[in-house]
């Protein structure tokens, strides 16, 4: 779709509306329904919201798809859904882009004799595939992720009907090891579920549960609940993180144990032993724990014995301790035993049946990497006649040494059902594009007790067909016998049958059927005692252990096609658009490399060259590279057809398998050497040294509890006039370090008398609780999508010209105002191994009461409105950019190019939020506090002749936040949540208070809980 004119647009609007009016009647094609016959449920200007399910990862979060005039414009969490309770992670937020991606395959394609993919009609395509399936005589295989219970059922029925060879489930981050470990330890082959909401100690063995864990949104919510300082005077739950690098999850921990990678299981048993020694119940485990005394564990893991003993005592006394098994990055060839050891620790600390539940069996089949390898072998041997690939990109996701791409050539006929072009769909003989999740029917059952429905929210934009329907049609065309064996009707009919017990239509409003999972607390199985927890053997040689961790936003790489996930900086390194290799500062010095220098990482499986990011927060013997990049196909995923970043999977051996047949990621020793080359990394944060300035503040728990000194708000008695700020001029400079020595005390609570306009009943304000903020970027993604913020691409990111209205700043400790002598670049990374003093601090327009940006605008494009908002009139702006210079928070963004025209590839323009002005070249923009949402609430309130009630306006960032870190509302309403939370004399502070800008945003300082202490 090279040109998309107004007429096409209107057609789609109309068509989309038609689709919404008659959801699912996809057999009946209406090109255009004019609004003279207005769909009953659509009022122009009023959004219609549909419940659905997010398909970006297997967690299965509930969605509320907000549509306007028949087009989805925003994905939000479904508040009724038990998994995410209304929040939605950045990956989910960005998932809307899949439907509107410029990478969409717009109709069926077949490979012609010249080897090029060319369009083909659906009928011909189905006939072609049917004939190939017929010819393959039972050698038809299906490969893909779990598409949901009903679609999965259709796949199985199709294979049965046509007499196919078989089916292989492929999910790169599947939980095989954990299932096997659970079987060995508890005798039940299932995936344990964790509930952290009541935990008082969480020991995370590198699961990175806040970012890339099995259900990050859910766990983040529970974790924040467990640590709510308002609820828990003692600071609530503590987090102990075990892992070789300071991941985002680690940066939120209270204590970080930098165990040698691979020894997590040993440490888990060491902690279990220490807990048993301190009085925990270790019955039946005596023999297993025998060799794991603190001293020997300390020796193997490099975690001090005293720490192990202290934590053991704390765990023994804790009421709700829980340990999380290793995530992808730390799954070695002995992952089953490591996970088993963590489960044993859970048994010892009494988490089983409480914070950890063991369902009877996994709700959905678990993918097996070993089967995947067998399939590749079969393909190579020519035993596969037809291969159907859906919901998967194994060419990118499997190591190149696995030879999947070459094996594809040996298969008689290959078919992809991809909606977006990827490395796999580029290589197949036939592409039968599936609808995207927003266009399809379907269902998901992420875990016991959760049945979630996927419903279409717009008419398919292109000539695509649902996987289920395609397979049914192909099956019917293969032979009359096969047709008989297949069910009648369309995929949707089958879905209705699947949901017949409750009625599909009945569950649509809620988005599914949710019930409490049947709890089971199995006892220890005899296998538990037979666990053999030893350090895994690594292959290859070198000074480093290669840790290939999932990218917080791109995950296994499926997010790479979504522009926001590429552009939003990584939570830890603040790098976007590129791969990087993390090595320690000492390693960097040893190798003679600096930030951006390219190093070669060599393992037994291959060699890869990538720019380094030296940091303090990583072990000296580890090199860590994120997965997810290294695509060669895609508008955003690749760099104009060239590789964007590197695919670290390519240096992992194909045969990295653990005892369960699961995929092992932590298998390689690596040699790292400087190549002499260098490249600029798109790094969007200059320094993590906050120079003791009033940003990202912390307060020690002790100060919070006893309310002395630190607690009392130190509001100056001086009149609140300009110059007041100067009274504190030296404040920032005076404090060199130490936690919470009280910078934030100099807060001035909101006083309506300060307002320029005092006749409005509203003064919009916000509180941001840094103690709840994990730095996860969910709010950033939500802001991008809600406010039509353009994505500028790698080149402009290198020039630091991203348009994000909201960014997460990451500071390490108090920082130091010391100035470098000479012209050395300020230290970019001030982390220290084992130190977790990281402050994530969201920064957006503070909507100052005395805003420096307003008086300097010559044309009053930046102005103050009567409700305290800093207005920004795009049409009036002439682009002098003085406002941005004068903004101390640097939250204003300038359109250096016509980003809307150049950066919104077709058909992405269809997802623009019609309530938000699209900004053109040469104007300034910034956070508006989601003024469109305020307006929408105002209209509702005005209709009812009342004021806007508290909670009626929910900003996009607030909505997305899984931990409720953001509160928004009317500061003039004393009962409003925002007023109550802002009125926190112990933790509340204003960013850069000394400037006397009187911001509308009150930050609540992060609480420093310190290392886990033994409860007294």
């Amino acid at each position: 779709m090279p040109d998309f004119d107004r007429r096409d647009f209107l057609k789609l609007v109309g068509a989309g509306a038609g689709a919404a009016a008659a959801t699912g009647c996809s057999d009946h094609v209406e090109k255009l329904i004019p609004y003279v016959v207005q769909p009953e449920e659509i009022t122009p200007g009023i959004p219609v919201v549909y419940a659905s399910t997010c398909r970006e990862c297997p967690a299965g979060c509930g969605l509320h798809v907000k549509t306007r005039e028949g087009r989805p414009i925003k994905l939000e969490g479904n508040p009724d859904h038990p998994v995410n309770r209304g929040a939605l992670c950045a990956r989910g937020q960005a998932g809307i882009g899949r439907t509107y991606s410029p990478d969409r395959i717009q109709g069926p394609l077949r490979r012609n004799d010249a080897g090029e993919l060319e369009p083909i009609g659906w009928d011909d395509a189905i006939e072609l595939l049917a004939s190939k399936v017929r010819e393959s005589s039972g050698r038809t295989w299906v490969l893909g992720a779990d598409p949901g219970p009903t679609a999965s059922d259709v796949v199985d029925r199709f294979l049965a009907a046509v007499g196919g060879g078989g089916r292989v489930l492929y999910e790169p981050f599947a939980e095989e090891a954990l299932v096997e470990a659970t079987r060995q330890v508890f005798g039940v082959a299932s995936v344990p579920l964790f509930d952290l909401s009541k935990a008082d100690i969480v020991v995370d063995f590198g699961s990175d549960f806040l970012e890339t864990g099995p259900s990050s949104t859910e766990h983040a919510r529970q974790w924040a609940e467990a640590r709510d300082v308002a609820e828990h005077g003692d600071g609530g739950g503590r987090l102990v993180y075990v892992g070789p690098r300071l991941s985002m999850t680690a940066s939120n921990a209270d204590e970080w144990l930098t165990a040698r990678p691979g020894t997590e299981g040993i440490l888990a048993l060491g902690l279990a032993r220490a807990a048993v020694d301190a009085g925990a119940d270790g019955s039946g485990l005596g023999s297993l724990l025998a060799g794991f005394d603190a001293a020997s564990v300390a020796d193997k893991t490099e975690v001090p014995a005293e720490t192990i003993r202290r934590l053991g005592r704390a765990l023994a006394k804790a009421k709700g301790a829980v340990a999380l098994p290793p995530g992808v990055a730390l799954r070695s060839r002995r992952a089953v035993h490591t996970a088993g050891a963590v489960l044993v620790l859970n048994q010892v600390v009494g988490a089983v049946g409480g914070a950890m539940r063991v369902p009877a069996a996994p709700e959905r089949p678990v993918a097996s990497y070993r089967e995947m390898l067998s399939l590749v072998k079969a393909m190579q041997d020519g035993d596969v006649g037809v291969l159907l690939v859906h919901d998967a990109n194994p060419v990118h996701g499997l190591p190149s040494t696995a030879g999947f791409a070459e094996a594809l050539e040996k298969v008689g006929f290959t078919v992809s059902f991809a909606s977006l072009v990827d490395e796999t769909s580029e290589r197949v003989d036939l592409v039968l594009p599936d609808h995207t999740a927003l266009e399809s029917w379907g269902d998901a059952a992420p875990r016991a007790g959760v049945r979630s429905v996927v419903q279409p929210t717009l008419r398919p934009l292109f000539d695509t067909r649902a996987l289920g329907d395609t397979l049914l049609d192909v099956g019917r065309a293969v032979s009359p016998q096969a047709a008989e064996r297949l069910p009648a009707g369309s995929f949707r009919t089958l879905l209705e049958q699947e949901w017949a017990d409750v009625g599909l239509r009945n569950v649509l409003p809620a988005g599914g059927v949710f019930s409490a999972a049947p709890a089971s607390s199995p006892g220890l199985a005899p296998g538990a005692a037979r666990l053999s927890v030893v350090e895994p053997k690594m292959t290859g040689s070198g000074d480093f252990t290669l840790v290939a961790f999932p990218h917080g936003l791109l995950w296994d790489g499926r997010g790479a096609a979504l522009p926001w996930l590429q552009e939003i900086p990584d939570s830890v390194t603040k790098i976007s658009w590129q791969s990087w290799a993390e090595i320690s500062l000492a390693s960097a010095e040893r190798l003679g490399v600096q930030l951006g220098d390219v190093v070669a990482i060599e393992t037994s499986a291959g060699r890869v060259e990538v720019a380094v990011y030296p940091r303090g927060g990583i072990r000296d013997d580890v090199v860590a590279v994120p997965q997810g990049q290294g695509h060669s196909v895609g508008h955003y995923a690749s760099d104009e057809g060239q590789l964007r970043g590197v695919n670290v999977i390519d240096v992992l051996p194909a045969g990295g398998v653990d005892e369960s047949g699961g995929r092992a990621w932590l298998t390689e020793r690596a040699q790292v050497s400087a190549t002499g080359a260098s490249r600029r990394l798109p790094l969007s944060q200059f320094s993590d040294n906050k120079r003791a300035r009033q940003l990202g503040e912390v307060v020690p728990l002790a100060a919070l509890a006893n309310g002395d000194g630190h607690g009392t708000p130190h509001v100056s008695a001086a009149p609140k006039e300009a110059g007041h700020g100067d009274d504190h001029g030296g404040h920032g400079g005076g404090h060199g370090g130490g936690h919470g020595d009280g910078h934030h005390e100099i807060r001035e609570p909101y006083d309506p008398a300060d307002d320029a306009y005092n006749d409005s009943p509203y003064r919009w304000g916000m509180t941001i609780d840094l103690d709840r903020c994990t730095g996860c970027n969910d709010c950033v993604a939500a802001c991008y999508v809600e406010n039509n913020i353009p994505v500028v691409g790698e080149r402009e990111t290198l020039a630091v010209r991203q348009m994000a209205w909201l960014r997460i700043e990451r500071f390490i400790g108090e920082g130091t105002p010391d100035l470098p002598v000479g012209r050395a670049h300020p230290q970019v990374n001030n982390e220290k191994l084992g130190d977790v003093d990281v402050r994530h601090s969201p920064m957006m327009c503070q909507h100052c009461g005395a805003a420096p940006c307003e008086p300097v605008c010559p044309v009053i494009a930046a102005y103050h409105n009567e409700e305290g908002l800093n207005g920004m009139i795009y049409n009036r702006c002439i682009g002098t950019r003085y406002c941005a210079n004068n903004c101390p928070y640097k939250v204003r963004r300038f359109n250096y190019f016509d980003n809307q025209l150049t950066k919104w590839s077709e058909p992405m323009r269809l997802m623009l939020n019609p309530d938000v002005t699209v900004r053109g070249q040469g104007v300034m923009e910034k956070c508006t506090f989601c003024i469109q949402r305020i307006q929408s609430a105002r209209q509702g309130a005005r209709d009812e002749g009342r004021l806007i009630a508290d909670g009626e306006v929910v900003t996009a960032c607030q909505q997305a936040c899984g931990t409720n870190a953001i509160q928004f509302g009317n500061l003039k309403d004393d009962d409003a949540t925002v007023s109550r939370t802002a009125d926190d004399p112990k933790r509340g502070y204003h960013a850069l208070h000394v400037l006397n800008t009187r911001p509308a945003i009150t930050y609540l300082a992060k609480v420093v809980r310190g290392p886990v202490e033994e409860p007294s």
Partner: protein, 466 residues
């Protein structure tokens, strides 16, 4: 303002005392004669650079300001730097014409015409940067307070608004001042030219006949305009300095900015006059009219303003330290030792140290030294603005979003074009208008003769003449 110093070498410094008027006319008008090949080459170079800059500008309007080197914390780049630079250059002309006129510093007469011309051209060059700098040039008329149906008005609180008025007022006054001063000379040119020039000068001379009445009106006009222009010399660059000083940016927010900028402007303006007039005098053999004495006086001015500017540099650093404000301290530390250390030291050396050579009379009267030093001052003053604008913005309050700005090829092209534009106008001026105020030089001559006769007439001059 110090009175013109004593002139011991009076005979050397004044033009030949006994030159007949007709020769004065011939000498000065000779400059306007047939241009040489070198002239055309130089003009061609200037036109080419202006053409390149225009092409870049059109490209920029089409593409967006992103073709510049802007980065997140640095929203103002070398367009603003160069704008301030040219506004500064524009100060010498008015200072020489108006203030020195009011102070009756007669030595100004030889250079005032070219200085005024430079003022006009520099203001015109500077004014263009306001348009080049903004994001939406096609909407830039919004900045004018014109009545409209939508009731939109401008923000008189904004220093950019003041700037608009200051620059346009200054441009108007300097153009009028320049023109009024030209009228008698245009009449001379009219009387001696033919062809299109005759037509042009006839129109521009406004029927000047040199009658007593006309002279009386003329003298009055110049006096009044001098009175009007004098406060402008101080106000324009004060207002430009408030573009920065009224912000909260560390490194900008300083009360010293107005006098600091005015001194800097005069400093750079005189330096530019020297840089331009030394070659002009040599090429067109105007040694009789523009003497070493004139240059020496300008060198004294450079020395004075250099000391003022250096004092301002010192004050800035002192206050940054003395205030105890960490933001200020780090901003100034990073100025000197951060990524922009180079520009800072260029500024300090060129503006603070090199002009100290003018303590020595030999340096003041040695033309090559004058030329080289004044060129260094021009460079130093451009870097002064670069330091102020860029380094301050790059290191503000939030260390997470500090950044480094590097000008792009396009910006440098427009910078080069601005010099080309200024030089182009000046070259054209050389050939169209008398480069020295003929009438005033003659007037000087009359006074000079009178001084010989009566020492009480015009004391300073006479005193010098002895």
């Amino acid at each position: 303002m110090t009175p013109p110093p004593a002139m011991p070498a009076a005979a050397a410094m004044t033009r030949g005392a006994e030159l007949p008027d007709s020769q004065t006319n011939r000498d000065i008008l000779a400059v306007m004669g047939r241009p040489s090949l070198g002239y055309f080459a130089l003009l061609g170079l200037c036109v080419a650079s202006v053409g390149l800059a225009a092409a870049i500008w059109i490209f920029q309007v089409y593409q967006g300001l992103g073709i510049g080197g802007y980065t997140h914390p640095v929203f103002w780049g070398i367009y603003i730097v160069t704008f301030v630079f040219w506004v500064g250059i524009a100060h010498a002309g008015t200072l020489i014409s108006a203030i020195l006129y009011l102070f009756r510093a007669k030595w100004r007469n030889a250079i005032n015409r070219s200085a005024e011309a430079m003022t006009v051209f520099a203001v015109l060059t500077a004014a263009q940067f306001l348009g080049i700098h903004v994001g939406r040039i096609w909407k830039s008329y919004f900045i004018l307070p014109y009545p409209n149906q939508r009731g939109l008005w401008v923000n008189f609180k904004s220093p950019l608004m003041w700037d608009t008025f200051a620059i346009s007022t200054y441009a108007t006054i300097s153009i009028v001042f320049f023109y009024i001063g030209l009228i008698p000379d245009l009449a001379i040119a009219r009387d001696r030219s033919t062809g299109w020039r005759k037509l042009l000068y006839t129109a521009l001379a406004l029927g000047w006949q040199g009658t007593t009445r006309q002279w009386k009106s003329h003298t009055r006009s110049v006096l009044h305009l001098s009175g009007l222009a004098t406060p402008l010399v101080l106000s324009v660059h004060s207002v430009v300095s408030w573009d920065f000083a009224s912000s909260i940016v560390p490194g900008w927010h300083a009360t010293i900015f107005a006098p600091y900028f005015v001194a800097g402007a005069i400093f750079s303006g005189f330096a530019m006059v020297l840089t331009v007039m030394i070659p002009v005098r040599r090429i067109y053999r105007l040694e009789k009219y523009i003497t070493d004495y004139h240059f020496e006086n300008m060198a004294r001015f450079l020395l004075l303003t250099s000391i003022i500017v250096s004092y301002a540099y010192g004050t800035e650093y002192f206050i940054a330290w003395y205030s105890g404000v960490e933001f200020e301290k780090s901003a100034f530390w990073l100025r000197a030792f951060g990524p922009y250390w180079f520009s800072t030291w260029v500024m300090i050396i060129c503006n603070g140290f090199i002009p100290q050579i003018f303590w020595f009379k030999k340096a003041r009267t040695h033309l090559p030294t004058l030329f080289i030093v004044s060129t260094f001052i021009n460079i130093g003053m451009w870097f002064e603005r670069y330091v102020i604008v860029i380094t301050s913005l790059s290191r503000e309050f939030d260390p997470a979003v500090w950044g480094v700005y590097t000008p792009s090829f396009y910006e440098l092209g427009i910078l080069a074009g601005s010099f080309g534009f200024f030089a182009m106008l000046f070259l054209i001026f050389l050939k169209i208008f008398p480069v020295i105020a003929i009438a005033e030089v003659k007037e000087l001559d009359i006074h000079h003769k009178a001084a010989h006769d009566d020492p009480k007439v015009h004391g300073a001059w006479a005193e010098g003449a002895r």
